[in-house]
């Protein structure tokens, strides 16, 4: 889904930039510029989840995945077993 950063997709990018660089209570920006230098990568219109851009072999759910989840996944890969995560490892707050 793109996680917490994808919350941005509910808002036009222009509004995000204006809030950060024009409207904030501590912003000092007499010329009203928004960062747009050629050294900066252009922002995409929306946040994409990684699997829409590159092929992902395995997903470990969690923000972040717990240490036990990572261990279980690595162990399964090393021993050529299927990755099976028990319920406790995919249960969240």
């Amino acid at each position: 889904m793109g996680g917490v950063p994808a919350l941005r997709n509910m808002v036009p990018l222009k509004e995000c930039l204006e809030e950060a660089y024009l409207n904030g209570p501590t912003v000092y920006n007499p010329s009203g510029q928004i960062p747009d230098n050629t050294e900066l990568p252009l922002l995409l219109n929306k946040v994409y989840p990684a699997h829409e851009v590159v092929k992902i072999d395995y997903f470990l759910p969690g923000c972040p995945p717990s240490a036990d989840t990572i261990f279980a996944a690595l162990k399964a890969l090393l021993t050529d077993e299927p990755v099976e995560l028990p319920y406790e490892l995919i249960k969240y707050d």
Partner: protein
């Protein structure tokens, strides 16, 4: 870059991304026809827009949602947002158990974050040298050559994470702090588990402090010039002038140690601090309003805190502070490389505080939440591991956030990191016929001393190889190196 396109005589070097820091950054260096440095800049190349997209969400979500802008020191954001939200529910005068539990969480956080930086990110440069073979100059190299030290680093970080888990429920992105207090206390069992390892942690903290101190003293000739310049420093400070990482008024000092402002109510931060927007970085440039954009920039973080405080209220860290201040005759220390030493003084301070708190019976208290008159605005200020952090929210009558302003610690070091990059580039690259990986690592070492968290600073996240491109005067690639 505009300059390189308009001036056919210039060369442009790019370090992208900067490694062994958190988040995405890149350095560009412009050279003239004689390979003299004309301009060096640290660009922050990511943007997320937290300030806008959390508008409309319920205010009580803030301590849980906003901390997800970082995986290294989420506790700082968790607590800073909680401090702001405390005011919305009129619960900023926490009960003693709640405040002490939050402090314990925060010292656990500082302990693990500083340990992570020192052992995992910075130690390869300090132990092997800035020019060492990059295939050894990394954490795996440290583990092979100094296994005992690598193990200490991992276990110190683990201890800090266990403190965080015991107080917030999880090692990363916990939920312990709630509006007006905490949702759990520390059980006797949790306390005793932590107390088992505490003396070992104190001992290892002394060891880490000694490494950082001796490194600085033994390399004083390097440290005196390396990415170093005079500056203002800012932090929060306790009423009696003690270092306080959790709460206090704002103090800023100039390069000679004179106070620019002192004990300013942190609720009035917009009166004294503003952030300039520059078009070549997504990270803003904060400055002290009374001085202005040109000279009002300041540094934050461990070095600044040791400079601004009058004393540290734990005995062993205080002894270490006195030794640190003796080097400069009591004046502010401006050495970029001294950040490591100051950071380890804070590691010792944090573990002393953790030990003190674990023996406090208030941590088993049951009076954990307070509230009072509801307000529509809240401002939280805290000393995160990397420096002063500000969270500011406004809410409507339906409890939705209508305004959010974040000044993240690393942002306050933006100008300083750019100056460090410029200074090191001038001192180590300027006029050289060939640019080596070692030279470029010098630039990164200077940035790394500030332990920047670029994800936090632009409110994004990731990991990276290093790519350097050298272009000739016509803009054609004449040399390119990629380090994985």
């Amino acid at each position: 870059m505009v300059a390189s396109n308009t001036n056919p005589k210039s060369k442009r070097i790019v370090i992208q991304p900067v490694t062994r820091v958190e988040g995405h950054g890149k350095v560009t260096i412009l050279l003239d026809e004689n390979n003299k440095v004309k301009q060096a800049r640290l660009h922050i190349v990511e943007f997320r827009g937290f300030e806008r997209f959390i508008q409309g969400r319920p205010f009580w979500e803030m301590p849980v949602v906003v901390q997800r802008l970082c995986g290294i020191c989420p506790v700082s954001h968790h607590l800073c947002a909680a401090k702001a939200i405390d005011q919305i529910v009129g619960g900023e005068n926490l009960t003693p158990p709640a405040e002490k539990l939050r402090r314990l969480m925060h010292y656990g956080q500082t302990f693990q974050s500083h340990s992570l930086h020192f052992f995992h990110l910075a130690s390869p440069d300090l132990l092997f040298g800035f020019n060492a073979d990059p295939s050894i100059r990394n954490i795996i190299g440290v583990a092979a050559e100094y296994p005992e030290l690598a193990k200490q680093g991992i276990l110190m970080r683990k201890f800090g994470q266990e403190v965080i888990k015991a107080t917030s429920g999880k090692k990363i992105h916990g939920t312990g702090a709630i509006p007006g207090g905490m949702n759990k206390n520390l059980s006797i069992h949790e306390r005793d588990e932590l107390l088992k390892d505490i003396d070992q942690m104190v001992q290892w903290s002394h060891g880490a402090l000694n490494i950082a101190k001796n490194y600085t003293l033994e390399h004083m000739d390097t440290a005196l010039e390396f990415g170093t310049f005079e500056s203002n420093h800012m932090s929060i400070i306790r009423e009696d002038g003690a270092m306080d990482l959790y709460n206090g008024g704002l103090r800023a000092i100039d390069k000679d140690g004179n106070k620019i402002f002192d004990h300013v109510d942190n609720q009035k931060y917009t009166d004294i601090i503003a952030e300039e927007v520059k078009n070549w970085s997504y990270m803003k440039f904060p400055f002290i309003k009374s001085i202005g954009t040109e000279n009002g920039w300041y540094r934050v973080g461990p070095l600044s805190r040791v400079n601004t405080c009058d004393f540290i209220d734990t005995p062993e860290a205080e002894a270490a502070r006195i030794e640190f201040k003796d080097i400069t005759g009591g004046k502010p220390n401006h050495l970029t490389l001294a950040y490591h030493w100051a950071r380890m003084i804070e590691v010792l301070h944090s573990i002393e505080k953790i030990k003190e708190l674990l023996h406090d019976p208030d941590l088993q208290g049951k009076d954990l939440v307070t509230k009072g008159d509801r307000r529509d605005e809240g401002i939280g200020v805290i000393e995160a591991p990397r420096g002063t952090l500000f969270h500011h929210y406004k809410v409507n009558k339906d409890d939705q956030v209508t305004m959010c302003n974040l000044i993240v610690s690393t942002t306050s070091n933006n100008e300083a990191m750019n100056r460090a990059v410029q200074k090191v580039a001038e001192d180590h690259l300027s006029g050289q016929p060939e640019i080596t990986e070692g030279m470029l690592n010098h630039v990164e070492v200077a940035t790394r001393a500030y332990d920047p968290c670029l994800s936090c600073a632009t409110h994004d996240m990731a990991q990276m190889p290093l790519k350097v491109t050298l272009l000739n005067v016509d803009g054609q690639v004449i040399d390119e190196r990629i380090k994985q």
